[in-house]
């Protein structure tokens, strides 16, 4: 395959960086998903705080990655929009690397997911502590070795899969669109890891969850590398 020399855009100092612009656009385009993800995780947290003893500590750390992924959909929506409007086509014509475009969207998705994660941890844990809950070692470990890494792993995995899905397909509306499919893709790793971890000895639990999160991130980055290396540039063209 012909090698293509490309560049990463770096604007003059007085112009806003494209990554910052993409993040801001992600916040605007994905505000509905962001509001939904944040609202659901907060409502569930408050419900769990008032449930019977022990339910919060078991359930709260598991729900956060799912709703953080839902909140991050703005990034993927930008990618689908940029492709259909010809933004990717122009960027490639000017020599921007597809990998840089993928990375930019990924940063936007991670920022969006961080908003949900931060809100969930602040409000959920705040309410838990305010109602007399105790942070046990198990809860602390679960938050640090499952909730946080799996949130980012699920977001990275679903965003990358969604971007590749979007590049390989013609635009579809509704659930069958990349933005509709992506939350389902994010559920798969989190559920799979939970099933495997629960079936394993307690001593291996966090190795499995932490290792699996790292594996999903590596898999997503490998998908970016492979797709930007081998995918035809025409896949980034608008189908319009």
């Amino acid at each position: 395959m012909e090698r293509t020399e490309t560049k990463d855009p770096s604007p003059g100092p007085e112009l806003t960086s494209l990554t910052a612009v993409t993040v801001r656009r992600g916040l605007v385009a994905g505000r509905l998903y962001l509001a939904m993800g944040t609202a659901i995780v907060l409502i569930l947290s408050l419900v769990l705080v008032h449930a019977k003893s022990g339910v919060f500590a078991v359930t709260f750390p598991l729900e956060v990655p799912l709703f953080a992924t839902l909140g991050s959909m703005g990034g993927l929506m930008l990618f689908a929009s940029d492709r259909s409007k010809g933004v990717l086509e122009y960027s490639i014509a000017y020599g921007v690397r597809p990998g840089w475009l993928f990375g930019n969207i990924l940063v936007a998705s991670i920022v969006l997911a961080s908003v949900v994660l931060a809100a969930a941890l602040a409000v959920g844990m705040g309410a838990f502590l305010a109602t007399g809950g105790q942070i046990t070692t198990d809860l602390e470990n679960t938050l640090l070795l499952y909730t946080v890494p799996m949130t980012y792993a699920a977001v990275v995995f679903s965003t990358v899969t969604g971007m590749i899905w979007s590049s390989l397909s013609t635009p579809r509306m509704g659930l069958n669109s990349p933005a509709g499919i992506a939350p389902l893709l994010a559920v798969a790793p989190t559920i799979l890891v939970l099933v495997v971890a629960e079936a394993s000895p307690k001593s291996d639990y966090y190795y499995i969850t932490g290792g699996a999160a790292a594996a999903f991130v590596v898999a997503a980055l490998a998908m970016i590398l492979l797709s930007t290396r081998w995918m035809d540039p025409e896949r980034y063209l608008s189908p319009m």
């Binding site: 293509t4 020399e5 560049k7 770096s10 003059g12 612009v21 940029d82 409007k85 014509a93």
Partner: protein
């Protein structure tokens, strides 16, 4: 035509989309500055040609180069401006942010953004969201990016579509002034526009280059008019009759008035004169 030839060289290029070939063995070489109007009916391959020349689509056969360097080399990309039929403006941006977005990609500066906004008459729109603009205003914003930095080759796919006649004329003037020192490839469905600004024409038909030449040569070679007579039809040469019209081949539109005077001297009262077989129109059939 060899890859080392100076200028823009398209050498036996075939290109298309996945299993659908569109261009088939297109070859031409452009060395001199000027406006090269790309004409052809819908589906002839104009957009695919522009995408291939811009290095977005890889040819399945053949090559595209500028001054001997492949078009997909970054040094060559930096010499090309590309404008597609899509506006390419990212969602959720205001006009000045949209121009700034491409300025960032172009490594241009804030003053370039301000200059281009002034040049395209976008001052009053600069703080409005792109999505709120009319089709013509959107097109103006979309065109703005090609004036951020001067480059050697401009690939412009229908740059004046959706523009009102005054703005279209202003854009044509800007491009004409650029074309004195740059190569401008310009696709259009507007034959008036092609005649007005084009120095050369590249015609595509079914993915192949059917014509490449000076527009002036094309006009003088086959310009013809049809004449219908109200009276004195017997004085018209019968061998020129095609249907209801008597067809005369002329050097150009400037010969129409003398033809009518000549016919009237011969006793023909002319009812109608119609352009027949306009060579540019023929390129669309």
């Amino acid at each position: 035509m060899r890859p080392g030839t100076p200028g823009l060289v398209c050498d036996h290029v075939s290109a298309g989309y996945r299993a659908t070939p569109v261009l088939n063995g297109v070859s031409f070489s452009i060395g001199a500055p000027g406006v090269y109007v790309v004409l052809g009916p819908n589906g002839a391959g104009k957009t695919t040609l522009f995408r291939t020349l811009a290095g977005i689509l890889a040819p399945t056969q053949g090559s595209v180069a500028i001054d001997g360097l492949p078009v997909r080399d970054q040094r060559t990309r930096d010499r090309i401006h590309f404008l597609s039929h899509l506006d390419g403006i990212p969602e959720g941006l205001r006009v000045d942010e949209a121009v700034g977005y491409y300025a960032a990609i172009e490594r241009a500066h804030r003053e370039d953004v301000d200059r281009v906004i002034g040049l395209l008459g976008l001052e009053e729109l600069r703080h409005r969201f792109f999505s709120e603009l009319s089709a013509g205003q959107k097109k103006r914003v979309s065109i703005a990016r090609v004036f951020l930095r001067e480059r050697d080759v401009y690939l412009l796919d229908e740059p004046t579509a959706n523009l009102d006649p005054r703005v279209a004329a202003e854009i044509r003037e800007l491009l004409l002034s650029l074309s004195r020192r740059r190569i401008v490839l310009y696709s259009s469905h507007n034959l008036f526009e092609a005649r007005e600004i084009g120095s050369y024409v590249l015609a595509l038909k079914a993915g192949q280059l059917s014509l490449f030449g000076r527009i002036s040569d094309l006009r003088s070679a086959t310009y013809s008019v049809g004449v219908r007579a109200a009276r004195g039809e017997e004085h018209l040469p019968p061998e020129r009759k095609r249907g209801e019209y008597y067809v005369f081949e002329l050097n150009g539109p400037e010969d129409v008035a003398p033809l009518i005077q000549d016919l009237e001297r011969r006793g023909v009262q002319v009812r109608e004169v119609k352009e027949m077989g306009n060579p540019l129109e023929d390129l669309f059939t």
